[in-house]
């Protein structure tokens, strides 16, 4: 019996190694200087890169963080510092339900909210879609680390006659900062690979983006469109792009593990 269970564990973890193996085997050879500095080439032409998609992903993540981090952290503060047990139960429930909303649905919602009224796909819309997805993620992790801050620090602050909001921002949040940063990084790593919410918001772009009100390229989008294309060159580029994206996400995870290790 133990052997059977060991075997299932092996089956469960095998995909990670298989995926990594193929990413490196198929993708590493196309990773060169050009890949990081050039625009994509039209079908049939050799070479080219994904510089615009890499920059685009960074820009989208920046916008997502600008929305998701303040709202998520403040919401976490509410849950940990102000909310009653009853309201917190329902707010957490809402956060968990939102976490389960399929990512493609976020794309449709932001399409209806921002793309239709402004009559254009845009980097803004993509950033908003990812940012909205981040909110419940950041909120839950922020709450979790804030409640770990001992009550005695809050009491010590109050006994000094410090206003509550200053205690929360300067003492409580600062004490839990590592955990909050960890949560933000995890949320960023999670949305960095999202493709579905970008399909009808950021749309993708084969050139440099000159304004955030225009469509913008992103690594996952580029990987998707290359993967389903009929050209071998593009398939190779898709593998290389996937390798870069995977490295980005894995390094986020490694940083998180590193940062949160000495907390336990």
């Amino acid at each position: 019996m133990t052997g059977l269970m060991g075997l299932s564990s092996l089956l469960v973890i095998a995909p990670l190694f298989l995926v990594l193996y193929f990413l490196i085997r198929e993708g590493a050879s196309s990773l060169d200087w050009n890949f990081f500095t050039q625009l994509p080439k039209p079908a049939g032409e050799q070479g080219g890169g994904m510089a615009n998609a890499i920059v685009g992903t960074v820009a989208l993540l920046g916008m997502a963080a600008a929305i998701g981090v303040p709202i998520g952290v403040m919401g976490g503060v509410y849950l940990a510092e102000y909310g009653s047990a009853r309201s917190n139960y329902w707010l957490r429930f809402a956060a968990d339900v939102l976490n389960g909303v399929p990512s493609i649905v976020w794309g449709m919602v932001v399409y209806a909210m921002l793309v239709v009224p402004f009559k254009t796909f845009s980097a803004y819309a993509g950033g908003v879609a990812l940012g909205l997805m981040m909110i419940p993620l950041v909120m839950r992790t922020t709450e979790e680390v804030l409640v770990l801050v001992p009550q005695s620090y809050r009491e010590a602050g109050l006994a000094l006659g410090i206003a509550r909001w200053k205690i929360i921002t300067v003492i409580v949040i600062k004490t839990a900062l590592k955990g909050i940063v960890t949560g933000v990084l995890i949320a960023l790593a999670r949305v960095a690979g999202e493709t579905a919410p970008l399909l009808f918001t950021a749309l993708g772009n084969n050139f440099w983006n000159h304004s955030l009100a225009e469509p913008i390229a992103a690594l996952p989008l580029q990987i998707f469109s290359y993967a389903i294309s009929p050209y071998d060159d593009w398939h190779r580029q898709a593998w290389a792009g996937a390798l870069v994206l995977m490295m980005l996400i894995l390094s986020c995870n490694v940083v998180v593990r590193f940062v949160s290790r000495d907390r336990r």
Binding site: M1, T2, M5, G6, S8, S9, V12, I13, L16, L18, V19, F22, L23, E26, G72, V73, M74, G75, V77, Y78, L79, L91, F93, A95, D96, L98, N99, G100, V101, P102, S103, I104, V105, M108, V109, Y111, A112, I135, L137, M139, R140, A163, R164, W165, A189, G193, E194, T195, L199, P220, I223, F224, A227, I228, A242, L245, M246, I249, L250, N253
Partner: protein, 323 residues
């Protein structure tokens, strides 16, 4: 001590009142941020409803049971997609739940302690792999292998079942189900593990005291105690499976057919939206796609809510954390 008598320092700041508005506004700001959760749920539902009004008016409940999806004559029905979504998710569950629970049991009850953390870490990293990368790997590695080896073997050995008949293309309902299974395995495993860990040791010891073997203890004491929680983990996995988009879109074949064979291509709610949304030429077409999103949202929210309530009602509250 001499220092105590040092003359008092220059006038200390000692206000008799402080303005309360910063504290109040901070509180309100935090409340507002927390309430965005509720706002978002309303927003998501409202936007999808608003986007699908035309289609709801035009087709009514027929939309859910009609299997005609014909953009040329502007007639739409969701049945093949609902079918595809449910079938691929069920396949995923059938694969992922036994594997995930077995792995969780292995990790909590059997594995050498030194092995546990590395396996857990790998499973956590697996959860971080983006859907589109699984899709890419699925198109070029998994599906060809399934087509040339696994599906052939299935057909030879189980071909008498209607499930495993017909031509083998590669991209298929079964391939979609398998890739989704891989993607939900981390959450099924980690939630099951939380549940198993919450089984009190007393429970185990009681069974041992009755002279049960290790495996009997697991079967009697652990599994029976954790059954409800594991069911919750499965429902949570189902919630994830239903909404999977990119990887499925890339390997399921994308044909709105209802076929008994799992080797036949299928189509899911999420994939059809992903594929056709930017190509929707008529208003009604776009509305129909929005309605597919609405159906998907309704199913996933229902399933997720059930899973959350089940996991939360468990003693010890080993509820599912945001994952």
């Amino acid at each position: 001590m001499r220092t105590v008598t040092t003359p008092d320092s220059p006038a200390p700041v000692k206000p008799t009142s402080v303005s309360r508005w910063p504290d109040r506004s901070f509180h309100w700001l935090a409340l507002l941020a927390a309430l965005t959760l509720v706002g978002l749920i309303v927003l998501v539902g409202w936007e999808l409803y608003r986007g699908s009004r035309l289609s709801i008016h035009q087709f009514g409940p027929r939309f859910l049971v009609s299997s005609q999806w014909d953009p040329v004559s502007d007639v739409y029905g969701a049945l093949p997609f609902i079918f595809g979504t449910l079938v691929s998710s069920l396949i995923a569950l059938v694969i992922a739940v036994p594997l995930g629970v077995a792995t969780a049991l292995f990790l909590t009850e059997m594995a050498p302690v030194r092995l546990r953390q590395p396996i857990i870490t790998v499973i956590e990293l697996l959860a971080a792999v983006p859907s589109v990368i699984f899709g890419l790997w699925g198109i070029f590695v998994l599906v060809p292998w399934l087509r040339d080896h696994f599906f052939r073997w299935l057909k030879d050995s189980l071909g008498f079942l209607p499930l495993f008949t017909g031509p083998i293309y590669g991209p298929s309902m079964l391939a979609g189900g398998i890739i989704v299974a891989i993607m939900i395995l981390p959450i099924v495993t980690s939630v099951s593990r939380e549940i198993l860990r919450s089984v009190p040791n007393l429970q185990r010891e009681a069974a041992y005291a009755l002279g049960a073997t290790h495996w009997e203890v697991i079967r009697i004491a652990v599994i029976s105690y954790a059954r409800r929680g594991i069911f919750g983990a499965a429902v949570l996995g189902l919630g994830r499976a239903l909404g999977e988009t990119m990887a499925v879109t890339m390997v399921i074949g994308n044909r709105p057919e209802i076929s008994a064979s799992l080797f036949a291509p299928g189509y899911t709610l999420a994939s059809v939206v992903a594929n056709e949304f930017t190509e929707a030429t008529s208003d009604l077409y776009l509305n129909a796609l929005f309605e597919l999103g609405l159906v998907l949202l309704a199913i996933t929210i229902l399933v997720n809510a059930v899973a959350q309530l089940m996991l939360r009602s468990l003693a010890g509250g080993a509820g599912a954390k945001a994952h």
